[in-house]
């Protein structure tokens, strides 16, 4: 996933002298390619996230195409108001990349983990993407770079297995079907959780959808899918408040659907203690064993 991103940034910069990538001293090897191929178009502003967002807006206002990068705990969390006033209010098509979303940086503690980014950004006019693998990432980057509005690409755990192993998606949509079955239960998952959802949906023969867009999506398309199921399960490495699960809950409630919703996501705000990524995922009850047992029960009801 990160290779796709790295290559995209370098090739965009090479193709367009007006294309710039700004980082607040984060990213390291991710930017090796662009620094080699278009060194003047990669700008490390230093550890200055707030000024970086403002500067990106100033550059975009004067016609530059700008991508800003940071860890999601900082971009967008630390700089939310700068994004609101200088990018959103100005309707600037800046692409915001938030890396390490969810519990990726478990060993570094609460400061570097981020389960709130989508919820915080969702009230602003920003199109939010949450790719599950390199194929979705490619499509998200492509779409974000054609938009006339701000966008945010949430980059979670990037070394999870590919989810589109058979039919590679050729176009982005709000939901991408990964498995169609006659089951009354469907899982809607996003980002890093799609690969776990895939194993479980195959095991219990459930329908599965990947959700790479979390705002400004085609709700008609999602509604048509939701109407088919008695049990609807959502999975995300993000707070259960304000993320994918909340999107689906809104649609079910606003449209009077009968589906029973079960949301799996981050409920405990902060990971207790230090440990591996697997430890954090287990702490937040997003590990395969926990979900497997829960979903088995849901299916047998």
């Amino acid at each position: 996933m990160r290779d796709v991103l790295s290559t995209f940034l370098a090739s965009k910069a090479q193709a367009d002298k007006n294309f710039f990538v700004l980082s607040g001293d984060h990213g390291y090897a991710l930017f090796d390619e662009i620094r080699k191929k278009a060194p003047d178009q990669f700008i490390n502003t230093g550890v200055t996230e707030q000024a970086m967002v403002g500067a990106a807006a100033g550059m975009a206002k004067t016609g530059k195409k700008v991508v800003i990068y940071g860890l999601s705990a900082f971009i967008p969390m630390r700089v939310l108001e700068f994004i609101k006033m200088n990018i959103c209010y100005e309707k600037l098509p800046v692409i915001i990349l938030g890396d390490g979303a969810g519990t990726v940086y478990t060993t570094l503690g609460a400061s570097h983990q981020c389960g709130e980014d989508v919820a915080c950004l969702k009230t602003l006019p920003v199109k939010i993407f949450s790719p599950a693998d390199k194929h979705e990432m490619e499509l998200c980057l492509k779409e974000a770079s054609t938009l006339n509005m701000p966008s945010y690409i949430r980059i979670g755990k990037s070394d999870k297995p590919e989810v589109h192993t058979q039919n590679k998606p050729t176009k982005l949509s709000s939901i991408i079907s990964l498995q169609k079955t006659s089951s009354e239960t469907a899982i809607f998952a996003t980002g890093s959780m799609v690969s776990t959802a895939k194993i479980i949906s195959e095991k219990y023969n459930l329908s599965l959808y990947s959700c790479p867009i979390l705002s400004f999506y085609d709700s008609d398309e999602v509604l048509i899918a939701l109407k088919k199921y008695k049990n609807i399960i959502t999975m995300e490495e993000h707070s259960i408040y304000g993320g994918l699960g909340s999107n689906i809950a809104d649609l079910i409630a606003e449209n009077g659907l009968n589906g029973k919703l079960t949301k799996f996501g981050i409920k405990e705000y902060f990971t207790k203690g230090c440990g591996s990524y697997e430890y954090a995922i287990k702490f937040h009850k997003l590990d395969f064993e926990y979900l497997d047992a829960k979903i088995k029960t849901i299916c047998s009801l």
Binding site: I43, A51, V53, A55, M85, N86
Partner: protein, 263 residues
């Protein structure tokens, strides 16, 4: 012709009609606005939005009435917009808002406009454009850490097209800067941050013009800072250095009294 007296009269008219606050914040930067728009900014290009135009970015958004008054003199804001300030659905807000033509950055949230102005300067520097980017900040506003992030970026990137003007009126919302959060000496501070820095009387039109000329024409690769020593509420005796005029609205009586001083 943008005269300081006319600007102050327009500000009073706006503030009285709208029952608006922030008169003191606007009055302190009147001469700065007068000199910039009269002597340093190609206002024809400003109005045509030419790519090589100059920029006046008001980061201390609370002083926006001084800029509205200037844009009115330039014909970029209409008379009815001035007269109907704050009426329902009107276009001019109480703090600098970039949706208004001529207002380059949204300066309502302090410490933000300066970051955007830095980005504009960086972009113009990359393009080798002749544009000059003037950015007006308040001394109170410089409490914001983000302002210093922008200042560091401007210095590191050698943005010599970036001219920061500190409207140093010595007050911030709750009191004197020196008692709220003392940041003096600004001159030493900006020099330490690698800005070419000059300090002068911010109400002396000739001093402003001379010193801004020095900075604009300097061959140094450093960004520039002008510490303009100003008086909050300048121009009306009972408003000068009285921070109550950050918050107080004009009555018919105080309006007439203030107008009578502006001859």
């Amino acid at each position: 012709m943008i005269s300081p007296t006319n600007l102050r009269k327009t500000i009073l008219c706006m503030a009285f009609n709208a029952k608006s606050v922030h008169i003191g914040c606007a009055f302190s930067l009147v001469e700065i606005a007068h000199v910039l728009y009269s002597k340093f900014v190609d206002t024809k290009k400003l109005q045509s939005l030419a790519p090589d135009r100059d920029y006046v970015c008001l980061s201390k958004g609370h002083g926006v009435m001084a800029i509205y008054a200037s844009l009115y003199e330039l014909g970029m804001i209409k008379k009815d917009e001035i007269e109907n300030y704050f009426s329902d659905g009107s276009s001019l807000t109480g703090l600098a808002d970039s949706h208004v033509p001529g207002i380059e950055v949204s300066g309502g949230s302090l410490g933000q406009g300066i970051t955007v102005a830095t980005g504009i300067a960086l972009s113009k520097k990359i393009d080798n454009a002749p544009s000059k980017i003037f950015c007006i900040v308040g001394d109170g506003e410089l409490n914001e850490g983000s302002a210093w992030e922008a200042i560091m970026i401007a210095a590191h990137r050698q943005l010599n097209n970036f001219i920061l003007i500190v409207d140093a009126n010595g007050f911030q919302a709750m009191g004197r800067c020196e008692s709220v959060l003392c940041m003096e000496s600004f001159k030493a501070r900006f020099e330490a941050f690698n800005f070419e820095t000059i300090e002068c009387d911010g109400h002396d039109v000739n001093a402003l013009e001379t010193n801004l000329s020095k900075l604009v024409n300097s061959s140094s690769s450093k960004p520039k800072a002008l510490i303009a020593r100003t008086v909050k509420g300048k121009g009306v005796s009972f408003m000068e250095n009285d921070n109550i005029w950050h918050y107080t609205r004009l009555t018919q009586e105080t309006y007439q009294k203030a107008l009578s001083e502006l001859k």
